[in-house]
Symmetry: C2
Subunit: 243 residues, 2 copies
DNA sequence: CCTACCGATCGGTAGG
DNA sequence: CCTACCGATCGGTAGG
């Protein structure tokens, strides 16, 4: 995949007419005043998006600072002009992704009142978020495996906070008595959040997939008590952090 | 990220004095006759189990040969007395895990004939496999992110082969017409295979969780055609590898 | 199974 | 934003 950058020349040698393997610069070659300029926020945004894509695809540890830098058209060390550390970079990307996702899901739900309609809207929006390979809102939320333990704690807290959004929706659902709402919510979120790992382009669109998920997760209460929800949304539910 | 192995150092140079910081040995210090002994199969088995646990917990790339070796009580280089390469090690572990899982699921299903009962038995067994932190049958089957591309192809082929087992079960299910069987199977397998990432000890046992999953995924066909399966197991289904 | 090493690559920094 | 580097760590090997 990558096989460039061997470096370690003994001195300022420059005898090579063109060193074979240094990152390809993207215009702005040898920009002279770069060091004097204040950190460009747009440039930083570009970097965050590039990093988000790589983190989402390869995970934390398997994504190198140098790879991110190269795709941004700069040397590895230069990235630290824009970021503080790899860990801080990951946390920032993760936080922004979840904030954006929460905003979008809330907005999608707002236009419906019926419980199942609200759930379907939320699911469709989540799939749109997870499967649209665009900007920061990418599926980083489940790539925790190789993240340092200290960072992981921060991410999990943020994710739990996001998932609370779905607790409200699920609690309002008229589900059959036999179904545990916590399990129901965990399973549904797991499918939505890891959609990129099981969805394959073609055959079905994202909204068709959402419909299919709903077809599986939708359960009508038995006819004899169809309009009396077994367990209305409890107002006391602002608890639990683990799972 | 990519396999290198070109190497071949220029010559026997050996001028450095000493290197600091070596792993703590676990007994059997300086065993003298180790090099003469034939590769011990039991020892190898130990190593496979240790590696399986680490791979399952941290993923391929984030698990180092030296960490595996240290937990096995030897130096990093010594591991190559038992294995050929890290890649080959991972593939072997993965293959064994899937073979063992397939055997167990088949056996669990065999004692039932009714479609839903067979599915429930398969799900319970899968959860048992994925959540019981024991031997080689561990959840490595979804930790592909940081695996080299060439290796990944091998793993995916094996996994698809394993998942065909579930195609038979799902095809035999009397599902409502609106539900797509391929999606149904993919979603169910995703939940089962990643169980370790969402299941948390306590509150519910593994079999209770299996019951909950079944409660969600079980759909009775409408009463007017309840005993006429819409789509019996098709004998021509030995296709598809992607998705 | 160990010692001692190789070349590659990692995150990060100094100084410009 | 680059050059040139650091110490650490990686997978793997030679030779015993």
């Amino acid at each position: 995949m990558n096989a460039r950058q061997k470096h370690r020349p003994p001195g300022p040698d420059r005898t090579h007419a063109d060193s074979p393997g240094r990152p390809v610069r993207r215009g702005r070659a040898h920009a002279p005043s770069a060091a004097d300029t204040a950190p460009n926020p747009e440039r930083r945004q570009e970097i965050l998006e590039i990093a988000a894509k790589l983190f989402a695809e390869y995970g934390y540890k398997a994504t190198s600072i140098r790879e991110i830098a190269e795709r941004a058209g700069m040397m590895g060390g230069s990235l630290y002009y824009h970021i503080r550390s790899k860990e801080a970079l990951f946390i920032e990307i993760h936080d922004r992704a979840l904030d954006a996702a929460a905003r979008r899901v809330r907005a999608a739900m707002a236009s419906h009142t019926a419980p199942w309609a609200r759930l379907e809207a939320a699911c469709t929006e989540m799939l749109e978020i997870q499967l649209n390979p665009e900007s920061l809102t990418l599926p980083i939320m489940n790539n925790f495996r190789s993240v340092p333990e200290a960072v992981k704690a921060i991410l999990v807290r943020k994710r739990d906070q996001f998932e609370a959004l779905f607790r409200d929706i699920v609690d309002a659902l008229p589900l059959p008595a036999g179904i545990d709402r916590q399990i129901y919510r965990i399973l549904l979120l797991r499918l939505l959040n890891t959609a990129d790992t099981w969805y394959h382009e073609g055959r079905m669109s994202r909204s068709e997939i959402a419909t299919q998920i709903l077809a599986i997760f939708r359960h009508e209460t038995p006819p004899e008590s169809a309009d009396v929800p077994k367990k209305p949304a409890s107002p006391a539910r602002r608890r639990r952090a683990a799972a």
